[in-house]
């Protein structure tokens, strides 16, 4: 009880900084996810009907996820220097797989009869994609974007190690100041606000998903 009240005291004393870090954290995550979304949907559409390319691309995206996150962040320092940019680059690579995989799965799930009838009515390849295939795959793609967002928000905490902003600053400070006053409070600020941010963003995306999914597809 005492620990909890001392945490609240710490938070209320530092709320301006915490809020600023949370916003920075959200910004880094969302930029990475946005870039990954554009890239992955485009790539997914290109490879979905090409078995070889599709296997290669999905395997590559899978391998990216297995690279230790700390190492991946560090790999970009020679390219982008230190700061938020190498962090965004690394997070972007992580976010690709869930969105790419769901784009491919979503397009796979479109009934062949629907595509056949679209083609049979004279919709061009582009019209088939934009008016039929993507709208029908959208709920699955959106689910991929939500997974990527949750994943990214968690890993963004590491950005601090390559000179980036975000709630990772509190975790790092807690680690280096282990045992000193407020170290525990800082650790929990990092954990609690990262989790809360993830939940809030997921909720926002769930609402977006609902309103961007065609009415005939909603359950």
């Amino acid at each position: 009880m005492e620990a909890l009240s001392s945490w609240f005291t710490y938070v209320s004393a530092n709320i301006d900084y915490i809020w600023e870090s949370t916003l920075a954290h959200a910004r880094i995550s969302l930029i990475a996810v946005a870039l990954a979304t554009v890239f992955s949907i485009t790539l997914g559409v290109i490879v979905q009907r090409r078995p070889l390319a599709r296997t290669i691309v999905l395997t590559a995206a899978g391998i990216l996820l297995t690279i230790p996150s700390l190492a991946l962040f560090a790999l970009f320092i020679p390219v982008f220097g230190i700061g938020n940019t190498p962090a965004i680059a690394a997070l972007y690579l992580y976010a690709i797989l869930p969105i790419l995989r769901n784009t491919v799965t979503g397009l796979d799930s479109v009934s062949p009869a629907v595509v056949e009838s679209a083609r049979g009515m004279g919709l061009s390849t582009w019209q088939q994609l934009v008016k039929v295939r993507l709208p029908l795959a959208w709920p699955v793609i959106m689910t991929g974007i939500r997974v990527a967002t949750l994943l990214t928000v968690g890993i963004t905490a590491i950005a601090v190690l390559v000179g980036g902003d975000g709630l990772g600053t509190y975790v790092q400070s807690a680690l280096t100041r282990n045992g000193l006053p407020n170290a525990t409070e800082q650790l929990y600020v990092g954990v609690v606000f990262t989790v809360a941010l993830g939940l809030v963003l997921d909720l926002v995306l769930a609402v977006v998903q609902r309103f961007t999914t065609a009415k005939g597809l909603r359950l």
């Binding site: 009934s111 009869a113 629907v114 595509v115 056949e116 009838s117 679209a118 083609r119 049979g120 009515m121 004279g122 919709l123 061009s124 019209q127 039929v132 709208p135 029908l136 065609a214 009415k215 005939g216 597809l217």
Partner: protein, 388 residues
């Protein structure tokens, strides 16, 4: 080339890379304007492939496709398809669009104005038997299989194409609904006069729907191309005969009408006459059964010699057994056969529009009618061969 052919396939070939035998081998086919041509054949014969060559869902490897005499083999396939209605077995409605938007798909692509589209959608929903105010704003997942295919047909008719291609459109629908859809579609076609190519593997559906039938064998080769009547009366070879299956002669009765028969004179008397008079008439004519008429001259009962003998001295009221349903001129001989086998006398009565007795149909009539149809069909093929 036939002058009125709406669609003309000229030695069309489809060969898939890596396959030695072509899927469709040098197919030449005329499809007359305003008719339903049914492509029917065993599965794997290439009938669907043939259909899909017409709107170039599958690109032909050789030959030409002509619509109204215009070579469309090299035309823009998307523009070509907007001119041709396309209905498939799995329907393929857009699940994310309302019924109205589904039907409006092609009109929208053709940039019709909004009012015209709305009117067209409502008209088409009415045409296929779905009240617009009730169905317009629904989504495909709220429809039954039969309703979905009604919308499928309405959507194919969206921009009023001259030509419709239908690939087993009623194949996935339960038998009762299928029959209803077939009948409604035939009624619709009487008004529309579209040129329709219809694929099925079901010979009965082919016989029912087709103005003409092309029976296809392997590699989409035409084994017989003719009207259903003539195919039933004269299957050209064993392949066709096997494909048509048992009972083809009886199915052929569907195409012959009572009006084509010359009804023979048959003994009939009003029931107010005495049983003895009835018996006399039968003996005089050498028949077993008398048609007993009511006061208006309508047939009511069959009376046998035996029944008349037992009736004694009174009139014929209540003597004999019910005649059952009557035939009229427009009934088919198939219906005649059905009534005949239910009748005590093995015959069935024909009446005019007022219900007055005109004569009877018996097995001899059917036999003669069928033999005539068969010999006419045979003569037709012999003439074709002689002219070839």
């Amino acid at each position: 080339m036939n002058a009125q052919a709406k669609i003309h396939l000229d030695r069309v070939v489809k060969k898939y890379p890596g396959s030695k035998v072509p899927a469709v081998e040098e197919l030449t086919l005329d499809i007359p304007e305003g008719e339903i041509l049914v492509l029917v054949g065993p599965s794997g014969c290439g009938k669907s492939t043939t259909l899909r060559l017409i709107n170039r869902m599958i690109e032909p490897s050789g030959g030409r496709i002509l619509l109204d005499g215009e070579d469309v083999t090299k035309a823009n396939p998307d523009k070509l398809r907007r001119r041709i209605g396309y209905v498939i077995q799995q329907v393929g409605l857009f699940p994310h669009h309302t019924i109205a938007d589904n039907i409006a798909t092609i009109p929208k692509m053709l940039k019709w104005d909004k009012k015209r589209i709305t009117e067209r959608v409502d008209y088409l929903l009415d045409t296929v038997g779905l009240p617009p105010e009730q169905y317009r704003d629904r989504y495909p997942r709220e429809l039954s299989g039969g309703q979905a295919q009604r919308v499928g047909v309405a959507r194919a008719l969206g921009a009023d194409p001259d030509i419709m291609l239908m690939d087993e459109p009623f194949g996935a629908i339960d038998p009762i609904t299928r029959e209803r859809l077939q009948n409604e579609f035939l009624r619709l076609q009487e008004e529309m006069h579209k040129t329709i190519v219809f694929v099925t593997h079901d010979i009965d559906e082919a016989i029912k729907m087709g103005d003409r039938i092309a029976i296809l064998g392997e590699r989409s080769t035409i084994r017989q191309y003719d009207t259903p009547e003539r195919i039933l009366a004269y299957p050209v070879d064993d392949f066709v005969n096997d494909f048509i299956g048992n009972g083809s002669t009886i199915k052929g009765l569907n195409f012959l009408q009572v009006s084509s028969l010359r009804l023979s004179d048959y003994p009939a008397l009003r029931e107010s006459e005495s049983a003895a008079a009835g018996l006399n008439l039968l003996q005089e004519k050498g028949r077993d059964w008398l048609v007993v008429l009511d006061g208006e001259g309508r047939p009511v009962r069959w009376a046998s010699q035996e029944q008349l003998g037992q009736a004694g001295t009174g009139d014929m009221r209540g003597v004999g057994v019910e005649v059952g349903d009557h035939l009229k001129d427009e009934n088919t001989l198939f219906e005649a056969l059905e009534l005949m086998v239910q009748s005590a006398a093995g015959r069935t009565c024909v009446v005019d529009d007022a219900g007055q007795f005109q004569g009877i149909v018996d097995m001899g009539h059917l036999n003669k009618a069928i033999r005539t149809a068969q010999s006419e069909a045979r003569r037709h093929y012999e003439e074709l061969e002689a002219n070839a």
